[in-house]
């Protein structure tokens, strides 16, 4: 009896593909303990008026979620998050694709240039923020020094909320476009040369070849960079903190930095957790769309 069970078990291990799922165990355990559990406890906090540090608090039902709907700063942060995510995607796609086209084929300065473009992508957001602060700052700012040469009087670049959001988005795009560039270089390298040769034999112009051959074949690269940039936008924290600390007012906060500020500085842990859950739901929606894409891709390979 026991033997038969053992035998069945070893058959299961040996041949049943379901057994392979056991390989995910270490990852799943870590994931449950350090991600799922904290999220559930965050959900619990979101129904309280906890200040984030006291040993006592009371439950306030869905009050925090109601507040969230009418809170301007939450919606500003949500909009900013989209600007940071989608705006960076747009700028980086143009910039990254251009750089990739320039740096895909071999020439003398290719290696050096690639490295220089990629280096900022490896630097912490906080540091990037501090460095760029010295460029866009009013007093002795490097950018103002330059426009001064053309006789323009200095500008206090980050003083207006919307302009500051755009500048942060641009800095994020420029600093991290190395990542997009690498993805596109990889994409271009995987476009078989024969397509281009066939096109040039057919007499297609450079632009036509680019429009009808390169772009469609680069679609997977576009999608990957979209995914990575949206994640980057959602996680945007260090850059905002270093450049403006979310100000003026709440004008430049991303969801991430707003959650942090609400939790610790404003001492509204319950409300902050509600924003966290709200962004989590939003993220899940994005991730469902992403899963659709993965399934679609899967069918392309296996179907």
């Amino acid at each position: 009896m026991v033997e038969a069970k053992l035998k069945r078990f070893s058959r299961f291990l040996y041949a049943d593909p379901r057994a392979l799922t056991l390989l995910t165990l270490p990852a799943v355990v870590l994931f449950s303990v350090f991600v799922v559990f904290p999220i559930i406890s965050g959900l619990n906090i979101s129904f309280t008026n906890w200040n984030g540090y006291s040993q006592s608090y009371s439950y306030v039902g869905i009050q925090n979620y109601k507040d969230l709907l009418f809170n301007d700063s939450v919606w500003t942060a949500f909009r900013n998050t989209l600007v940071y995510g989608l705006g960076s995607t747009a700028v980086q796609t143009v910039l990254g694709l251009g750089l990739a086209m320039l740096l895909v084929d071999k020439f003398f300065l290719r290696g050096v240039t690639r490295t220089i473009v990629y280096i900022p992508a490896m630097v912490a957001q906080l540091v990037i923020g501090y460095i760029w602060y010295f460029i866009v700052t009013y007093e002795r700012g490097a950018l103002n020094d330059i426009i001064n040469l053309f006789g323009v009087s200095p500008i206090d670049w980050m003083s207006k909320g919307n302009r500051a959001v755009l500048i942060i988005m641009l800095i994020n795009s420029i600093a991290y476009c190395g990542k997009t560039m690498i993805i596109f270089i990889a994409g271009l390298e995987s476009v078989p040369n024969m397509y281009h040769e066939a096109a040039s034999i057919d007499g297609a112009s450079g632009w036509q070849a680019f429009r009808h051959i390169t772009i469609p074949l680069l679609l997977p690269a576009f999608t990957t960079s979209l995914v990575l940039n949206i994640i980057g936008g959602l996680k945007m924290f260090g850059l905002v903190i270093a450049m403006t600390d979310g100000g003026p007012g709440y004008a430049t906060h991303s969801l991430s930095s707003l959650i942090n500020t609400m939790y610790f500085a404003n001492q509204r842990a319950g409300f902050s957790s509600a924003i966290g859950i709200f962004s989590f739901i939003f993220i899940m929606l994005v991730s469902i769309l992403l899963r659709r894409y993965l399934e679609y891709k899967d069918q392309q390979y296996n179907g």
């Binding site: 593909p17 390989l23 904290p38 050096v112 690639r114 220089i116 460095i131 002795r140 899963r291």
Partner: protein, 278 residues
């Protein structure tokens, strides 16, 4: 004919080199500013564009002694290396079934992982902190390594499973027919092909762990355990009066990742081809 084509190509390369120089200057400018700042003396109010006529290395000495950048680099190396090894290990074995057997359960696990990739870790920081206190993980390397591993895993699962999808399934089936156990397929068939994608994962997760701030701040509170971002950020705090030393600390924090990139650069693009664009 061939000659003309070569001429054209040469001229093309000429233009390309010029554009490359302009691009490099543009992208290097911020680093030039921080470099020149790091060689200035305190209280130098000259333009950020002007390199000091007599560069001072005093700031680097201050950063090394007062900021303990040396110890910080070793601490960060310990955290990064162990986390990355665990991420590669757990991530690769988990990706294999997730990519190969699209059962409902596996699909669920995969999409949950990809979802987590996007959760801003800050939103769950305090629950994590309380958990870590009860596990005794505060001020220990294993505490920070476990957290960095967990939050680095989704990215590696995402890339590894994308990559495994590109390896023909027929290879697995052939191996099974040869009497290979299904657990042996991964090390025998899949693993040998993975070097480039591993290097991509090493760079992406390694760099993000190297640059992490929030987890390290909360878990590693003792000065002896300070990591590079913590050490550096203490120079950039509000009462910051020693700007050149802060700049010097930033330069030293960036150098190791640049070296890592230069070493892995060759595989990196190949790895990106395999995992991200097919």
């Amino acid at each position: 004919m061939a000659n003309a084509k070569n001429n054209l190509k040469a001229r093309h390369n000429w233009i390309k080199n010029i554009v490359a120089v302009v691009t490099s200057v543009f992208f290097f400018a911020p680093f030039y500013i921080i470099l020149s700042l790091s060689f200035k003396v305190r209280g130098d109010r000259s333009s950020h564009w002007i390199f000091p006529s007599s560069p001072h290395i005093q700031s680097y000495v201050v950063a090394l002694t007062k900021g303990n950048i040396g110890t910080a680099i070793i601490n960060t190396l310990i955290v990064t290396v162990f986390s990355v090894v665990l991420i590669i290990l757990f991530g690769s074995i988990a990706s294999y079934p997730l990519a190969r057997h699209r059962s409902k359960l596996n699909k669920f696990i995969l999409s949950a992982f990809v979802g987590v990739m996007m959760v801003p870790p800050l939103s769950v920081l305090v629950p994590i902190y309380r958990l870590m206190v009860s596990l005794g993980g505060i001020n220990t390397f294993w505490g920070i390594i476990i957290l960095s591993t967990t939050y680095g895993l989704p990215m590696s699962v995402f890339m590894f499973s994308n990559f495994i999808c590109t390896i023909p399934k027929e290879l697995d089936e052939a191996a099974l027919l040869d009497g290979c156990s299904q657990f042996a397929i991964f090390p025998r068939i899949i693993l040998p092909n993975m070097m480039p994608v591993v290097s991509s994962v090493v760079i992406l997760t390694g760099v993000s762990i190297w640059n992490d701030y929030s987890f390290q701040l909360y878990i590693l509170q003792k000065p002896k355990l300070r990591t590079i971002t913590l050490a550096m950020s203490s120079f950039f705090s509000e009462g910051m009066t020693n700007l050149p030393a802060a700049a010097a600390a930033a330069v030293m924090a960036v150098l190791p990742v640049v070296v890592l990139y230069l070493f892995l650069q060759k595989y990196f693009i190949k790895g990106t081809v395999d995992s991200a664009v097919k």
